[in-house]
């Protein structure tokens, strides 16, 4: 009897995951794969159209392409480049004699805990072309004001500023944790052998940090490709022109939301979601391959 209980218990304990996954994960995901080959507005009869949705997306849908290039560009300037800033900051924080380390760590982590929607509202105000803080500072510095969200070319840089603000600290703390897991003797012995600070950084710390870099950059890619909240709020919200002026802030997830929930095109929307998913997976796998090549 007891033995039996011990055999059944683990299955019982893991069953909630599988039940929930099949109902709320696998079923909608596969249903969406099916829908991507159909035309459906949610109420009409589901009409099978073969590859039409995918062909339309790839060959004729300018919005879709625009959303992809926007998302990639934002991924680059909003999520990836910041790792070059975060890593040196982490090195600065990684010192036993640094005063106020607790304060710095708390401050750097603060942006991560906030609601993107709330903070995007504030940044919207900071970016106001007439009264915002950013243009005020630009004027103080003798520079001309920027139109930010009224001008297509500055929409993405503005969104990227918010993304950098939100994630640099998170990445810094992540790298800091990575640095602290590197044994101090390693660095000490290199120093004794006469290695300079930069040599230590590039030839000892950086290679040892590769797994953490992989982890942090992968997270950036995965979340960056699904950018939604910041771009949507800053470009006028749900009711506005998707992605703001000239759709300059239209990310692929905003496009998916627009197609599916504003235009009610469930088939096309599902096709968008599958294409986006495949792009995320291949980007992550490619990045993994690159890191593995560097490691060998």
């Amino acid at each position: 009897m007891k033995m039996n209980q011990q055999k059944i218990a683990p299955y019982l304990f893991i069953s909630p995951f599988f039940i929930l996954f099949f109902i709320f994960g696998a079923f909608p995901d596969l249903f969406s794969l099916f829908l991507s080959f159909t035309r459906w507005n949610g109420m009409s009869k589901i009409e099978f159209v073969g590859l039409k949705n995918f062909i339309y997306l790839v060959t004729r849908d300018d919005f879709f392409w625009k959303s992809l290039t926007n998302t990639f560009f934002l991924l680059l300037i909003g999520s990836l480049l910041q790792h070059i800033i975060a890593l040196p900051l982490a090195v600065m924080l990684d010192s036993k004699v640094l005063k106020g380390r607790e304060f710095f760590r708390t401050a750097y982590f603060l942006p991560y805990i906030t609601s993107t929607v709330s903070i995007a509202f504030l940044f919207g105000y900071l970016f106001d072309r007439n009264f915002g803080l950013f243009n005020y500072l630009m004027e103080l510095a003798g520079l001309p004001g920027i139109k930010w969200f009224s001008e297509p070319s500055t929409v993405k840089p503005a969104i990227a500023i918010l993304l950098n603000w939100r994630w640099i600290g998170w990445n810094t703390i992540l790298y800091l944790a990575g640095l602290q897991s590197i044994p101090g003797e390693l660095i000490e012995s290199a120093r004794v052998e006469g290695a300079g600070r930069y040599a230590i950084f590039f030839f000892i710390l950086l290679p040892l940090l590769l797994p953490v870099i992989f982890f942090a950059v992968s997270l950036s890619i995965i979340f960056g490709m699904q950018l939604f909240d910041e771009a949507l709020i800053l470009t006028g919200g749900v009711g506005g022109n998707p992605g703001g002026v000239d759709n300059a802030g239209l990310t692929t997830l905003i496009y998916l939301y627009t197609v599916g929930f504003r235009w009610g095109k469930f088939g096309l929307g599902s096709a968008v979601s599958w294409v986006l998913f495949l792009i995320i997976i291949s980007a992550t796998v490619t990045f993994k391959k690159i890191i593995e090549r560097i490691q060998h």
């Binding site: 007891k2 218990a9 299955y11 304990f13 893991i14 909630p16 995951f17 996954f21 709320f24 994960g25 079923f27 909608p28 995901d29 969406s32 900051l89 924080l93 005063k99 304060f103 760590r105 708390t106 401050a107 750097y108 982590f109 603060l110 942006p111 805990i113 906030t114 609601s115 993107t116 929607v117 709330s118 903070i119 509202f121 504030l122 105000y125 900071l126 106001d128 007439n130 603000w165 640099i168 600290g169 703390i173 800091l176 944790a177 897991s181 797994p211 992989f214 909240d229 709020i233 749900v238 009711g239 506005g240 998916l256 599916g260 929930f261 599902s270 979601s273 599958w274 986006l276 998913f277």
Partner: protein
């Protein structure tokens, strides 16, 4: 070990030391300032918000902004929704993930590896993939504008199970479990009486990150919640964007109030959050 440095070297070292503090402190200010600014703007009078130079100090509009916020939104109802969903999400996630994590950490059973790898693979599937059918399902379930879709599907999630398994594998001695079994304690009771108390540090990490994630969840909530009174805070605030001539002080008041719970949690637990959360996620990396 202090190495001898020439005078020139020492100076350079000192300058770069000061520079380091300047950089670190400057960046901290950039991170903290927006929080301060939200609270400043929440107190500014209506006609006193958009001007040059922009306001840097608190004003006297706090009551007006608050009233205006309540006129535009059932704000406390939205707060209740956000809180209720986040609390339910936190409790259920902790319970189900600890349960599953325990099973993978401390039992040998057929298909264990396959099932665990299966769970890990699902980590790669984003919510957006099935969002359209998920919405349709919620219509069929009659779950639109309810709390259920916003915590039930993620109660037992891959990240949480992984985190708990990693932690429990190293912190619950098998002897202890066997001793409990010899005393005739059932498996479920062992989970409640032995495992949960031992798992506290990992539970704290999972609980806090679940709470923050739920409180800030926007995309899923936007799809599911269509009625003003059902909105959570992020959806409620975003709905104000569509209104013409909306009082910006009201938006900032709502924003400020929505930040308070998170700031309170964070200031109390920041040390545990940062060190445990990172230890937890990096443990996964090291493998």
């Amino acid at each position: 070990m202090v190495k001898k440095r020439s005078a020139g070297h020492t100076l350079l070292w000192k300058v770069s030391g000061t520079l380091k503090y300047l950089v670190l402190f400057g960046v901290s200010l950039i991170f903290i300032y927006p929080f301060y600014y939200v609270f400043v703007l929440a107190t500014r009078e209506r006609g006193n918000m958009f001007k040059v130079p922009p306001p840097f100090w608190f004003g006297h509009g706090i009551v007006d902004n608050y009233n205006s916020l309540l006129k535009n939104l059932p704000f406390w109802r939205n707060m209740l929704n956000s809180t209720g969903i986040a609390v339910l999400a936190t409790f259920t996630t902790v319970i189900f993930c600890t349960m599953a994590g325990f099973a993978f950490a401390k039992y040998k059973f057929k298909g264990e590896n396959f099932l665990f790898n299966f769970i890990l693979v699902t980590l790669a599937i984003p919510q957006l993939l099935g969002i359209i059918p998920f919405f349709k399902m919620m219509v069929w379930f009659n779950w639109l504008n309810t709390w259920f879709p916003l915590f039930i599907p993620t109660m037992a999630n891959a990240f949480g199970i992984f985190l708990m398994r990693q932690y429990l594998a190293g912190s619950v001695p098998l002897d202890l479990l066997d001793a409990a079994r010899i005393d005739g304690i059932g498996e479920f009771k062992i989970l409640v009486k032995v495992v949960f108390p031992l798992a506290k540090p990992a539970i704290a990490v999972l609980g806090i990150s679940t709470f923050i994630g739920s409180w800030n969840n926007f995309f899923g909530a936007l799809v599911i919640l269509r009625d003003k009174r059902a909105y959570t805070i992020p959806v409620a605030l975003s709905s104000l964007l569509g209104i013409h001539n909306i009082d910006f002080g009201a938006i900032m008041m709502g924003t400020a109030l929505s930040l308070v719970p998170l700031l309170v949690i964070f200031l109390f637990f920041s040390k545990q959050i940062i060190s445990n959360l990172l230890a937890g996620s990096l443990k996964g990396v090291a493998r």
